[in-house]
Symmetry: T
Subunit: 71 residues, 12 copies
Amino acid sequence: MSDHHTYKKIELVGSSKTSIEDAIENALAEAAKSLNLMEWFEVIDTRGHIVDGGVGHYQVTIKVGFRIVNS
Amino acid sequence: MSDHHTYKKIELVGSSKTSIEDAIENALAEAAKSLNLMEWFEVIDTRGHIVDGGVGHYQVTIKVGFRIVNS
Amino acid sequence: MSDHHTYKKIELVGSSKTSIEDAIENALAEAAKSLNLMEWFEVIDTRGHIVDGGVGHYQVTIKVGFRIVNS
Amino acid sequence: MSDHHTYKKIELVGSSKTSIEDAIENALAEAAKSLNLMEWFEVIDTRGHIVDGGVGHYQVTIKVGFRIVNS
Amino acid sequence: MSDHHTYKKIELVGSSKTSIEDAIENALAEAAKSLNLMEWFEVIDTRGHIVDGGVGHYQVTIKVGFRIVNS
Amino acid sequence: MSDHHTYKKIELVGSSKTSIEDAIENALAEAAKSLNLMEWFEVIDTRGHIVDGGVGHYQVTIKVGFRIVNS
Amino acid sequence: MSDHHTYKKIELVGSSKTSIEDAIENALAEAAKSLNLMEWFEVIDTRGHIVDGGVGHYQVTIKVGFRIVNS
Amino acid sequence: MSDHHTYKKIELVGSSKTSIEDAIENALAEAAKSLNLMEWFEVIDTRGHIVDGGVGHYQVTIKVGFRIVNS
Amino acid sequence: MSDHHTYKKIELVGSSKTSIEDAIENALAEAAKSLNLMEWFEVIDTRGHIVDGGVGHYQVTIKVGFRIVNS
Amino acid sequence: MSDHHTYKKIELVGSSKTSIEDAIENALAEAAKSLNLMEWFEVIDTRGHIVDGGVGHYQVTIKVGFRIVNS
Amino acid sequence: MSDHHTYKKIELVGSSKTSIEDAIENALAEAAKSLNLMEWFEVIDTRGHIVDGGVGHYQVTIKVGFRIVNS
Amino acid sequence: MSDHHTYKKIELVGSSKTSIEDAIENALAEAAKSLNLMEWFEVIDTRGHIVDGGVGHYQVTIKVGFRIVNS
């Protein structure tokens, strides 16, 4: 077995009507459909749309790190 | 009708005793008193005061983008 | 009495299974065990571990500012 | 007469279907409707919408500096 | 239907002998061969090669955001 | 009375022939003509013009935070 | 033949017990398994785990640029 | 004797009613009460409180580097 | 022959009444008067003067990289 | 047992005549004299002194993260 | 006469025992010995040496912009 | 003798087939051919070319600080 791993990071934007945390969870749930080895995330940017003078959607950009299979 | 718009961005600091999201909503509600065409916000900075060893107020700096009337 | 104070800032990483705000509160509660004069915090970075395709822990890096005793 | 001036900077987002330069000019033209003493601009961010696999609109964020009247 | 979407951002470098705008269009045209739901781009970096004391190629790094299918 | 306030930040450039501090004071004095509730400033950039091989004017860009009336 | 190319950049984290250079080489070797046209890399971040008061693994985040096939 | 040293950097905020330089000196004087081997400082941030339309206090954040004893 | 080269980077500000690209070309043309081995440029900043409510001059700051002779 | 931990990050500058990696190891070895629970490091800055036209000492600034005892 | 100019920017570090402004003036005075067309400066970094628990020298890094002769 | 010095910083890119440290040494050796008073360097960027799925050349951008003669 190798004594080191290699990881890849992808950049996602999750959205939610309710909270920043929910937007992060939504992005991770979407990524989990095609990735098995996700290990960590980093919040890069938080923004959102405004509707009727309040938050319409939070839009949270994250990077997700996952181990490359067999690395 | 013009085929392009112009937007202005202003910088606000919202505060809240309960959450980051509530501080954002408070800033937007205040801005909505004088602005009609707000479209998006960007979180610039998150900080707060400490009271009795815990968070007293969250202070969230956001930029708010709105379309200039008749642009 | 002096007409000025001096503050020190330390960097902490709080973690929580539930929310960004809770991670901040956990870091402040830990710091409050040894510091009396904490005045403000600044969020530096938000990230976390992923478990089963969702957030395992939020890890929030903050700087905490406190007044140096007798300064 | 004072030996110094004070300037204010505002942040605008100009848009254009044709070029980055045109988006800047559109933002300046809009600002010129209400400001007389504009002196310089700084490009902060360049982005845009995608339509049919190409650029729909360029969106250029600029800061505009103008002298405050009578300063 | 879900009340939220998830987006992915990829980083491309387009090049052109003629202009910054053309380099952006070239990168988008290439991406459009395999992506259907591209929505926005962000300019990250502008540079280029020098040939005979002038611009040989503009090289413009952009991020392209597109909606993940069925998200 | 509300348990939270909202603040706005504006960006100014003060100038002075003598010092960085004087340029900041000049910008604040100008802002004070129209704003009552200024609370803090942040220095963003320091630069200046050169005259006869020395500093002609210091130009200090600051952000000024003030509480929105009745917020 | 086209007079311009388009490149894609991906973000990888290589690791190594011995050196920063070795972590970069490990990431490139892993990427080379699926990419033919890699041209350059950029070091984004260097960090690592600590074991027994020394470096356990170096973890080096790089961006890898490669030409898109047939672009 | 070792052929290398190790240094630690701490972050302080000095304040002064009169000048940026005085705020730096105040922070250093406070640090000097407990540190013997301070070698350099770096200015990280300059801000302040506003009182009566002028500067109340300058608040200058600095990092102070000092050699670790016996390193 | 050496198996490696050394490059130097200088920082220039080109200006133009017509476009960002023209400002870059003007800076390169000026540099080419004294430098033979220029290889690449990087755009650092884009700004300009405003005249009559529109762009007077674009001012584009670039870094120019050239190989040191005989390196 | 708590379901979360709190970490502290300190900033160190390690130096070495031989390599960047050695400078990091020197800083960690020094920190290990007083800290038991170090978990990770982040490289913040790499610089050095020049002696006789070559590197005299590498000076590498790192942040070291360690778990607070009993957190 | 050309309708545009080209400028070059160089980076200097001025030092002074007394103030930040004096360090800037010292750097400009030194540059003025060999440059005729200096137009502006930008402060990049402010730091210094510590002597006897106070500021020994301020070290201020500036960029100086000057017009290239005959451009 | 003056009680202060002035330094200039230049930006170089050194390259090497073997290591980051070797690329730095190569840049310093080249600079030493024309500069006598080099005092320190700062690593600004690390990147490289990829050849056959591995590092072809490391390219390390550094700033070199040297005292201006007779300053």
